[in-house]
């Protein structure tokens, strides 16, 4: 540009210092023409003003255009991003729907298969496992419903109240997706109900949209996930959901509820203690009952019919608590809502003569059930830790007490009181993992601390885990086939525990797991194989042969698990190695 040739060059550019460069050039060109046409007027103020105004208008126009272009480009990018996001969501929903439907299909086929021979009347068992995805579930425990759909809806209703009461946040996509799909085992196309809900969403991918029936139900769950990360790339999203599913598979669904139940039980004990401070007789009565239960649990021995007196004593305390005349000023306070201590709330039974079919039970009875659970757990930790055989009678007594109808709520056993303690003290049983060399890992593994805040010794920890493992086995592997009572904790839970431990990836194994596993299996192979047959033998192979190999070289706890396999081979001739 020939800038020096302008007479007004020094002032003209300075007047608009903020203008972008390109518009500067354009203004120069037009001004040049003007100067040439009217040379005389070239330095008049009007000319300058006009030139300035013109150039300003031009600048503004160019700037506006540029801004406009930029905005359009940004909008385009935004729409593209939204489009991608929608595609990802759609894809994920499709996958989850398929998975849920596949689970439904499998279960329906199982149910059909079970319906062909008219099954004999069964012992009523708790609602089927709450994880439709879990495959190792043998069909033994699901009650055979009249038709598959009835089974579905029963399950749905039985589960429905749970989230409202306890877990408003825990809405799992598969569960929500199940009921609409259950009517149609094949891929559901456009259902009329879904379209109106679909309407507010964007209109770009009509063809795909029709396939994504549960999208609206999916939307809130996507929102409720802690990290929405709108800009994350597709593989990341995939990984995240995969991880979630992994977690859902390995953990017992009500695992986290147990922690809450445990806290509520602590509060209940504090409450009873508080009343005891107010009323000395109440304190003495509860103290005597408590000590009677503790002593009876301590007296349990192995052998047939050796524990009748002890069971009678324990029942006597519980019965007394049911009938106890409560101090009038506490009448209201000493009723408790057992639903607070259960992972699933049972509906009131329609049968006659079901005890405690209302909303409450005497708080003292629940307190004593809790004391029984507490004393038994403590006995397991100390005695069965040293001598695992001692777990057998404890498990027997616990199960028979918890199965007793008059200590049940609406016909459902209150065994979650006991399981909450297992969950807190031995989380490994419920699929939790941790590194036993780190602070956080130990906390996750239920490694206890002593009064000074130090971790208890490895030996003590292993003892506790051994006792709890043996106790869990003794509770789970109870044969109720000849009993009229409902099994409060069926054997499938034992399978879950084995599975959730042995599915641990190699990098995440811990000695605690091996110790617990050894205690679960030692002495209990007979019962386990009786419940699960060939699948049980196969499971033992996985647990005793395959799983210890995931341990780091030289892990002594893993070695003792392998010795267990050798012992089985020697003592029972059970060969696990061929597989």
């Amino acid at each position: 540009m020939s800038r020096p040739s302008f007479p007004g060059g020094a002032t003209s550019p300075a007047s608009s210092p903020n203008d972008p460069r390109p518009s500067d050039d354009a203004a120069d060109d037009s001004a040049m023409a003007y100067y040439e046409s009217d040379w005389d007027e070239r330095n008049s103020e009007a000319t300058h003003a006009a030139a300035l105004a013109k150039s300003k208008a031009l600048h503004d126009a160019v700037r506006e255009k540029a801004v406009g272009t930029l905005q359009i480009e940004m909008l385009r990018l935004e729409t593209e991003r939204l489009r991608l996001q929608r595609i990802q969501t759609a894809e994920r929903v499709r996958l989850e729907t398929e998975r849920a439907m596949e689970a439904v299909r499998i279960r329906e086929e199982e149910n059909k298969a079970k319906l062909i021979p008219k099954p004999p009347p069964r012992v009523p068992t708790p609602p089927p496992p709450k994880q439709p995805v879990q495959q190792p579930t043998p069909p033994t425990t699901t009650p055979a419903p009249a038709n598959p759909q009835a089974g579905e809806s029963a399950q749905a209703t039985s589960q429905a109240p749970t989230p409202n009461l306890f877990q408003p946040s825990q809405k799992q996509a598969p569960q929500v997706a199940v009921p609409p799909n259950s009517q149609q085992p094949t891929i559901p196309l456009q259902t009329p109900a879904s379209n109106p809900l679909q309407a507010p969403s964007q209109h770009q991918h009509g063809s795909q949209q029709q396939n994504h029936v549960p999208q609206p139900t999916q939307a809130p769950s996507t929102l409720s996930t802690p990290k929405p990360e709108p800009s994350s790339s597709q593989p990341d999203m995939g990984k995240q959901t995969a991880a979630q599913h992994q977690r859902q598979k390995t953990l017992h669904p009500s695992v986290d509820l147990y922690v809450d139940i445990h806290k509520r039980l602590k509060m209940l004990r504090a409450l009873i203690r508080k009343y005891g401070e107010q009323i000395p007789q109440f304190k003495k009565a509860t103290g005597d009952m408590r000590r009677a239960i503790t002593r009876s649990v301590g007296q349990l021995t192995e052998g047939r019919d050796t524990n009748k007196d002890q069971i009678r004593t324990i029942r006597a305390q519980l019965d007394a608590s049911l009938q106890m005349t409560v101090p009038p000023q506490l009448k209201e306070d000493l009723l408790y809502t057992p639903a607070l201590l259960m992972t699933t709330t049972p509906v009131p039974s329609r049968e006659d003569n079901v005890p405690h079919n209302g909303d409450t039970m005497p708080a003292l009875t629940i307190y004593l059930l809790n004391i029984l659970a507490k004393a038994s757990i403590s006995q397991l930790c100390s005695e069965a830790g040293a001598n695992p055989n001692a777990a057998e009678p404890i498990g027997f007594v616990l199960v028979s007490i918890f199965a007793t109808p008059r200590y049940c709520f609406r016909g459902a056993p209150l065994i979650d009181i006991l399981m909450a303690k297992f969950r807190v003290l031995c989380p490994v049983l419920f699929g939790l993992r941790g590194n036993d060399k780190t602070e956080e890992g130990r906390a996750r593994l239920g490694w206890k601390k002593d009064a000074n805040g130090n971790w208890i010794s490895e030996q003590e920890h292993n003892d506790r885990m051994t006792g709890l493992g043996a106790g869990f086995a003794s509770i789970s592997l109870r044969d109720f086939s000849k009993s009229s009572m409902r099994n409060p904790w069926p054997a499938i839970n034992y399978w879950y525990a084995l599975a959730s431990i042995s599915c641990t990836p190699p990098g995440e194994t811990s000695s605690t797991q091996f110790v617990v596993l050894k205690a679960l299996i030692d002495n209990y192979t007979n019962l386990f194989v009786r419940f699960f047959g060939d699948m049980g033998v196969r499971a033992l192979h996985v647990v005793l042969e395959d799983f210890p190999r995931k341990a780091p070289q030289g892990n002594v706890a893993a070695s003792s698990l392998q010795v267990l396999a050798a012992k089985l081979r020697r003592d029972t001739g059970l060969l696990l190695a061929a597989g």
Binding site: R291, Q310, E383, S457, E460, N462
Partner: protein, 505 residues
């Protein structure tokens, strides 16, 4: 911390200090991989840490490896979040604990079949006595040993491993090892331990030589013979027991055997009747000075492992006493104790046989499964009673001093001194050794146990105080007036300190 305070100190800092380890991780996480460790770490690795890494040993060694990944490679192998290494607070990592050890059984060079037996017994790491004694015991040529270690720290397993390692398995019918114990129960128990540890050792044969166990004119045809001195002496005399190829001889509760007039003589006679013994081992939790000299003659030029007197008590045993209103009032208090805490099996020591029977009747009435053992019972009957207690068919054992020593039932969580142990002419002085052996029936291998001693008059009170003074222990007093309060005290005492450490340290 221990013999190598410098290195271990700095290592402990590094491992345990949360801030320090985080800092390490942060500063070195940018170094490209494990090839370029920080210099200080490298120094430590390169320095003669054979001792150091050995000292931490076993599974703790993996802790070290884990620890190394944090400063070396940042969070390379684990999740991005840092997890702080645990301080070595476990008893086997605490140098003051009698269960402390630096090595694994593998490192001690123990035969693989024996190892399997140990693992099946849930032994994970050697205890201090095992870790110190086994290298000496297993060394060649065989050397004698006098070893003292607290109750419940694995003495029996130590000499059983030695015996099993010395045997010549090509001669299954030739007696090669002899083990002597002061009572038939103890002999039976050792026999059981040999069987358990040797359960995966092929061709192992073992026999007990206690009264009534060996038929007349039948020859002993097992590699390992466990017995009481009198019976063994008779069997050798009657040529039922061929002692021409004896490799190891072991005396358990050696001070007790050598101290007692009759048993000591019998032991000596047995030893003199054996032409040649490669290795003589003496084990006990107590070795009073007078017996020690005799022991040194019995097992000449032996390696010795001894303890100071104040190291004798085991911290895992919570010692309390109960002030009872009268001698008769002890019954009721005893019965009430059982609701106060979680009790596995329990042993009640009494002075007289008839007290034993009375207590047994009372406790049976309360729903306990009780057995009583004293000298009025004979032979096989005693075996089966103790067996019932061992397997947990009966959970309360009432006994006189015959079973004060050695009996190891791991689930015993309470020992009651219904009468304070006394010795001397007409029971005039307290008997600290017996007290120690009695309470040592609980707190086995680092477990928590409770001992409660009953006092009711000036004599019993001052006797107990003297025993407490002898070992430098503080006894907690319990009250029988308010059981709720007593329950709380007992709970606190049980929780108070970690098991396995000495009270003094």
């Amino acid at each position: 911390m221990s013999e190598t305070p410098k290195t271990s100190g700095s290592l402990a800092d590094r491992i345990t200090g949360p801030a320090a380890s985080k800092l390490d991780a942060a500063t070195t996480s940018f170094t490209p991989g494990a090839a370029n460790p920080s210099s200080s770490w490298a120094d430590e690795v390169a320095s003669p840490v054979g001792t150091e890494s050995k000292q931490l040993g076993g599974t703790v060694e993996q802790a070290q490896l884990d620890g190394a990944t944090i400063p070396l490679a940042g969070s390379g192998l684990h999740d991005a979040q840092y997890e702080v290494e645990v301080k070595l607070s476990d008893i086997q990592g605490d140098v003051n604990s009698p269960l402390f050890s630096v090595s694994t059984f593998e490192e001690l060079g123990i035969n693989k079949d024996i190892l399997q037996g140990l693992y099946s017994m849930n032994f994970k790491k050697p205890s201090k006595i095992q870790e110190k004694a086994l290298p000496l015991l297993l060394a060649n040529p065989p050397a004698n040993m006098i070893a003292q270690s607290q109750s419940g720290t694995g003495k029996t397993a130590a000499f059983v491993i030695t015996i099993l390692s010395r045997l010549d398995y090509t001669r299954p019918h030739q007696p090669q090892a002899l083990c002597l114990a002061p009572s038939r129960e103890l002999a039976r128990q050792i026999e059981g331990v040999v069987r358990t540890i040797g359960q995966f050792v092929e061709g192992l044969t073992i026999q007990a030589a206690v009264p009534g166990a060996v038929e007349r004119n039948a020859r002993l045809q097992a590699m390992v013979v466990v017995g009481t001195p009198g019976t063994v002496m008779d069997l050798i005399k009657r040529r039922q027991f061929d002692v021409s190829n004896m490799k190891v001889m072991c005396l358990d509760e050696a001070d007790n055997m050598l101290d007692q007039q009759g048993l000591g003589d019998q032991c000596l006679r047995v030893k003199q009747m054996i032409p040649r013994i490669d290795q003589i081992l003496l084990f006990s939790a107590t070795f009073p000075d007078g017996v020690m000299r005799y022991a040194q003659q019995f097992s000449p030029s032996a390696n010795e492992i001894k303890l100071k007197r104040d190291e004798l008590t085991v911290g895992g045993i919570k010692q309390m006493y109960m002030d009872c209103p009268s001698d008769e009032g002890k019954y009721d208090i005893l019965a009430s104790l059982y609701g106060l805490m979680t009790i596995g099996s329990s042993i009640i020591f009494v002075k007289k046989k008839d007290t034993a029977s009375q207590i047994a009747a009372r406790l049976t009435q309360d729903g306990h499964k009780v057995v009583a053992v004293h000298s009025a019972f004979e032979g096989a009957e005693r075996d089966s009673i103790v067996e019932d207690f061992r397997t947990g068919k009966a959970k309360v054992l009432i006994t006189t001093n015959v079973l004060a020593r050695g009996i190891d039932v791991s689930s015993v969580s309470m020992v009651i001194n219904y009468d304070i142990p006394m010795k001397g002419r007409s029971d005039s002085e307290p008997d600290p050794e017996t007290y120690l052996h009695r309470i040592g029936r609980t707190g086995r291998f680092g477990r928590v146990g409770v001992s409660i001693s009953f006092v009711f008059d000036r004599k019993s009170f001052s006797a107990l105080s003297e025993i407490a003074k002898h070992y430098g222990i503080d006894l907690v007093k319990l009250d029988q007036d308010d059981w709720d309060k007593t329950e709380a005290i007992v709970k606190d005492v049980i929780k108070s300190s970690r098991a396995g450490t000495n009270l003094q340290s």
